[in-house]
Subunit: 152 residues, 2 copies
């Protein structure tokens, strides 16, 4: 409780720490116009605000859900123009939301398959085996015929 109250601005490194994003990447985002006009001190060094921290949080949410930089840039522009951009921001987010749902569904499907395989392998690891399969006959010399694949 002593080195907080005067800390209004964050240096690049502090910002990197805070956001979990390399300082280089923050510079890159700035270049790309995702993060605009970061404040500078007298020596021309960047000083990030709490607003910047929050905004990078938003950016990371979008990135982690695989939004391309191009689209994030568009979103940033729409935020820049203020209220006028709200309808398109909404549209953009709704469409992105859809994609995220699809991603999650795909992830869950894959997860089911992975769990299934883990199951098979775990029981196969101690007892006899062969009733497994990777969608491929388990013989060393691949290319065999015959399939018992469940879902895959």
């Amino acid at each position: 409780m002593s080195n907080e109250q005067t800390t209004e601005w964050l240096s690049p490194m502090q910002m990197a720490d805070r956001c979990g994003v390399p300082a280089e990447t923050l510079r890159y985002y700035e270049r790309e116009g995702l993060l605009d006009q970061v404040h500078r001190n007298d020596g021309n060094q960047r000083r990030y605000s709490a607003d910047d921290v929050a905004w990078v949080g938003v950016l990371r949410c979008l990135r982690v859900t695989a939004m391309p930089i191009r689209e994030m840039k568009r979103f940033a522009e729409l935020v820049r123009v203020g209220e006028a951009g709200v309808p398109e921001r909404l549209e953009l987010l709704r469409s992105h939301r859809q994609q995220v749902l699809e991603q999650r569904a795909a992830l869950d499907d894959a997860l089911a398959m992975i769990d299934h395989k883990i199951d098979i392998y775990s029981t196969a690891v101690a007892p006899v085996t062969d009733a497994d399969t990777d969608g491929v006959t388990t013989t060393p010399t691949l290319g065999g015929r015959g399939i018992r694949t469940s879902s895959a």
Copy 2:
């Protein structure tokens, strides 16, 4: 029910259709050793088996959950050696499963944030507005002070 029973092998295009993966990518997977020794006809053209279809299904599950090609290659090798590879396959899949769970958690967090924003925008689009925020003051001239960020 007429052009199925004799179709034992799939041409590259048919395979691409079936798996939802470009034929080029299948060739790439083969080069990388993810898919080994695809059968050829007399004219040296690839003929994919039902096993191949199933195996590509597995590969896609791994890819869609962001497993790097390098690791998929390792997995393919472990399948190639048969039973001896099972323990490491298990290990690999378990560790991957963990990553998938983390991905899903991150996705869900981001989704919550996106939903929250959509909510704000939707209500803001008709009534007055300003109480929104993108983690940034909504004024046209960015760089303003003051924050009311909720989560973000």
